[in-house]
């Protein structure tokens, strides 16, 4: 049952990808797309898709939109921070590797979390082991686990937890 659901979700996301790539919805394009997506979904039955493990509840959908907005804001902030550091003659840096904790269990959610952290101000995911994430931080504000978790992870985790659990 779980496996069948995974295959169907993978098929759906592949079909969407195919239609966006083709840019049309002509009947022959859709037919070829269905065939191709079905073959790949069968062959990669054990694999994940972006939709897998997504909780299809209204609150999850709302969280997804909020997440995108929050992410865009953080990405712009990150770039302004990079711009400030790079253009200042003194290079104000205080780098270090800190350890933070995440509550997320879903693999897709964790991958998105790691990618989001990498793209947000001054942080770069280096290693992920169990519930621990090791983060390179350009300007370490606090080396303690709890404080670093609150500063780096909490913002994204709030939305991703609603989306993936």
């Amino acid at each position: 049952m779980d496996r069948a659901r995974g295959v169907i979700l993978l098929f759906a996301s592949l079909l969407v990808f195919w239609l966006v790539l083709s840019g049309t919805a002509a009947s022959d394009v859709v037919l070829v797309g269905i065939a191709a997506a079905a073959v790949i979904a069968m062959a990669f039955a054990g694999n994940l898709s972006f939709l897998a493990e997504f909780r299809a509840t209204p609150s999850a959908v709302v969280a997804a939109f909020l997440y995108v907005g929050y992410f865009a804001k953080e990405l712009v902030k990150a770039n302004l921070a990079v711009a400030r550091i790079v253009t200042s003659p003194a290079l104000p840096l205080n780098p270090g590797f800190v350890k933070v904790r995440t509550r997320l269990k879903s693999r897709v959610g964790r991958a998105l979390l790691a990618n989001s952290i990498t793209l947000t101000p001054g942080t770069l995911t280096v290693e992920m082991e169990g519930e621990w994430l090791y983060i390179h931080w350009v300007s370490v504000e606090s080396p303690e686990v709890e404080a670093a978790t609150a500063a780096i992870v909490a913002g994204f985790e709030h939305y991703l937890e609603a989306m993936y659990g």
Binding site: L10, L14, A26, V32, A41, R107, M128
Partner: protein, 232 residues
């Protein structure tokens, strides 16, 4: 040192030979006769929008069959060379497993890469791309799986089956062109359709898809053979 000087002298001589070629090169102002024929006749004769595809699959289709054969031979020789005397596992150094980031990321991306490969070779007659590019993209998807799980053993029999079936179908379509249309690998055994649609250009999309599968299987078998070698 002598070796280096001799090599430099040879390079200098070769460079002196190439320099007049470069300086005396004047780009053509109009297409030559062959190219002109292809440019004017492709759309009407074959219904393919991508003229390079038309040349590769139809006008020079026999050459492409030869090329795919050469690729098959080199893949087979790679397998043969590496298989000969492959000793029982000598143990070797344990390889570092990939991190969770890479395994999750590759499992998310591999199906998309495969689908992109199919998109490229199915649309070979309309957009840039075709069987060779699509096959390479599919092999890249296999490569991503291998990177995420170094110890993974690929299904050699599946790869060999895809490879030989698509090769067989390719030759069968070629013969069908000989029987039902103008000649070997003639694409007009299927209706030519309207220029610019997916279901057009006769048998070209079918042939290019088969080439794509075959090339993808050949590259994948090269990758699999090299990845299963033991460390020395």
């Amino acid at each position: 040192m002598i070796r280096r000087a001799a090599a430099l002298a040879l390079i200098a001589a070769l460079g002196a030979l190439l320099l007049p070629l470069l300086l005396g090169y004047h780009p053509d102002e109009a297409l030559n006769l062959t190219a002109c024929y292809y440019a004017e006749r492709t759309a009407a004769d074959l219904g393919a929008a991508n003229i390079v595809t038309a040349i590769v699959v139809t006008y020079r289709g026999l050459d492409t069959l030869g090329e795919v054969t050469v690729l098959f031979l080199s893949a087979a020789v790679v397998g043969l060379v590496l298989a000969r005397g492959r000793t029982a596992t000598t143990g070797g150094r344990p390889r570092l497993p990939a991190g969770e980031l890479l395994t999750t990321g590759s499992r998310l991306l591999a199906p998309l890469i495969m689908l992109l490969g199919i998109y490229i070779f199915v649309n070979g007659h309309l957009t840039p791309g075709g069987g060779f590019q699509g096959g390479a993209v599919i092999a890249s998807g296999v490569l991503l799986l291998l990177l995420a799980e170094p110890g993974r053993r690929l299904g050699h029999r599946v790869i060999a089956l895809v490879e030989s079936l698509s090769g067989l179908a390719y030759v069968a379509i070629g013969v069908a062109g000989l029987v039902y249309a103008g000649g070997f690998l003639d694409n007009r055994i299927l209706p030519i359709g309207t220029l610019g649609e997916l279901a057009s250009a006769g048998a070209i999309p079918v042939i290019y898809s088969l080439i794509g599968l075959k090339v993808g299987a050949e590259f994948s078998s090269m990758l699999a053979n090299l990845s299963e070698t033991e460390e020395l």
